[in-house]
Amino acid sequence: MKKPGRVLGEMLENLFAKKATSNYPFTKAVVDARYRGRIAFESDKCIGCKMCVRACPSKAIEIPLSAEQPAAAPIPEGSAPVPAKKKFDCIMSLDRCIYCSQCVDVCPKKALISTTDFELAHTDRKLLRLHYK
């Protein structure tokens, strides 16, 4: 590499090369479908076992009882009363979450889902506390 003008070839090659950078945030960055992003919650699947709360390494999940509980299904006459299915909420603290998706792995009913959402920064601290109902 001691030849003078040795950069010429390299320069010409890079002049016509594709850009290495992307125009983010104007063009959206593409992440893999298996990316571990924001955790979503489906309340109708949750049975309130709180396995996710116990597994979470950063204590980011809370599973409280919903404020509004569904009414008990009408019991047919003569049969034993069936307790109404309880409804649960999920409070996900984005500032605590480390996006390891361990909660998704331990959930027996697949009520927690890993999404590919990654733009989760906020200027307001309150917005970091997601309340799924």
């Binding site: 001691k2 893999d32 298996r34 571990r36 979470c56 480390i98 390891c100 361990q102």
Partner: protein, 397 residues
């Protein structure tokens, strides 16, 4: 000439993380140096004791951003040894692939930083651009670019599909092509040679005495690759060379790292073509032990050692981490001495230091000018007093 002592760090443009070097200068020449740690101590070992084995994986992953797979694999090998769990062959293969991808990522990152420190910023831009290829591979396999969270107790969390295999192989061949260019660049480019040759000299016998490990040790001719001498995962079955060099300087460390990249590509190809069928994880009970285990692991920066002591509960009684930089720090003052001040950033960067992985805390008494050493009982007494002032009494525990 008068001697002058100047501090380098803890906050310094040449350092990526806080650490302090006290340099004694005679003109431009460094005649003495000491290293002071303790600016980034996070108490991870203590925190690990209050979490379950599963939660500790994610905690220990954060010991280091770059060697995240190394720390969890080393820790889990200990846990699996205590629990007497037999990890499936496929899980071992996937762990090996992620480990080698991590090594490529770490070495390319180092190459960029070395380029930056020597004032050759094109090299920095080039190698970091190429590093995106391997980061994409890691994202594809694990779901994240840095904290892969690939490991779980008894195996791995995600399988490698045939499509992923093809994609990894495609990206590895791009990287292989680029690495050939870096080998040419590193060994022929006048800028690189002028800034690295005979800088940060560490002769073989001194390196042996100071217990230098990893690429730093191998550049001084020490055969210290744990993958070769105490094979774990699949390394016993694989064909790869242990790279050593005999120039004992920063140039040697560069050559070792760049040639190790080539070996890593070779390993990834071999493992992807071998990839045995079967489950990717076995079930391990939450409560483990009692027992204890120590394991060694060749992280990109050198040998990583984890010690785990289990007491039959779901939480470890003790986790001890010896990150690779801890062993290499001892050699830095020797390398700095008799060098020039302008070479100090290059010499420090050449061991690929990771301050927060390795940090230790000490108590320094400014009145007596002495370092105080606390035993277990002293620390306990201190903790009880600390909480008593805040209204909690732990003395009966």
């Amino acid at each position: 000439m008068t001697k002058m002592t100047i501090p380098l760090g803890p906050q310094h443009p040449a350092l990526k993380e806080p650490v302090n070097f006290s340099l004694v200068l005679e003109g431009e020449q460094i005649t003495g140096s000491t290293v002071n740690l303790g600016y980034n101590h996070r108490g991870i070992e203590k925190a690990a004791e209050s979490r379950t084995y599963l939660q500790d994986i994610y905690l220990l992953e954060r010991v280091c951003g770059i060697c995240s797979h190394s720390h969890t694999t080393c820790y889990l090998t200990c846990v699996e040894e205590i629990a007497k769990a037999e990890v499936p062959e496929r899980a071992k293969a996937i762990r090996t692939i992620v480990a080698e991808l991590e090594r490529i990522h770490s070495h390319l990152l180092w190459l960029g930083i070395a380029g930056y420190e020597m004032g050759f910023e094109t090299l920095f831009m080039y190698s970091w651009r190429d590093r995106e290829q391997v980061l994409d591979c890691l994202e594809l396999v694990s779901g994240n670019r840095v904290h892969y969270a690939m490991n779980t107790i008894g195996g791995v969390r995600r399988d490698i599909t045939p499509e992923q295999k093809t994609e990894i192989l495609r990206r590895v061949s791009i990287l292989e092509e680029r690495t050939k260019y870096y080998i040419k660049l590193g060994t022929e480019e006048a800028t690189v040679l002028a800034r690295t040759q005979n800088v940060g000299l560490l002769p073989h016998d001194v390196a042996m005495n100071l217990g230098t490990i990893g690429p730093t040790g191998r550049a001084s001719g020490i055969k210290c690759d744990v993958r070769k001498h105490e094979p774990y995962l699949l390394y016993g079955k694989l064909d790869f060379k242990e790279i050593t060099h005999d120039t004992n300087d920063v140039f040697g460390r560069l050559v070792v790292r760049v040639l190790e990249l080539v070996e890593s590509y070779k390993i990834i190809r071999q493992v992807l073509n071998y990839l045995p069928d079967g489950p990717i994880a076995v079930k391990v009970p939450a409560k483990i032990g009692p027992g204890e285990a120590t394991n060694r692991y060749e992280a990109p920066r050198g040998e990583d050692i984890h010690y785990v002591k289990a007491n039959g509960t779901d939480k470890p009684e003790r986790v001890k981490v010896r990150a690779p930089t801890m062993a290499n720090y001892v050699a830095v003052p020797y390398m700095l001495n008799s060098g020039y001040l302008a070479d100090a950033p290059m010499t420090i960067a050449a061991i690929d230091p990771c301050m927060s992985c390795t940090d230790r805390a000490m108590v320094y008494d400014t009145k007596k000018n002495k370092v105080r050493i606390y035993g277990w009982d002293d620390l306990r007494k201190l903790g009880i007093e600390h909480y008593k002032k805040r209204g909690v009494d732990f003395s009966k525990l």
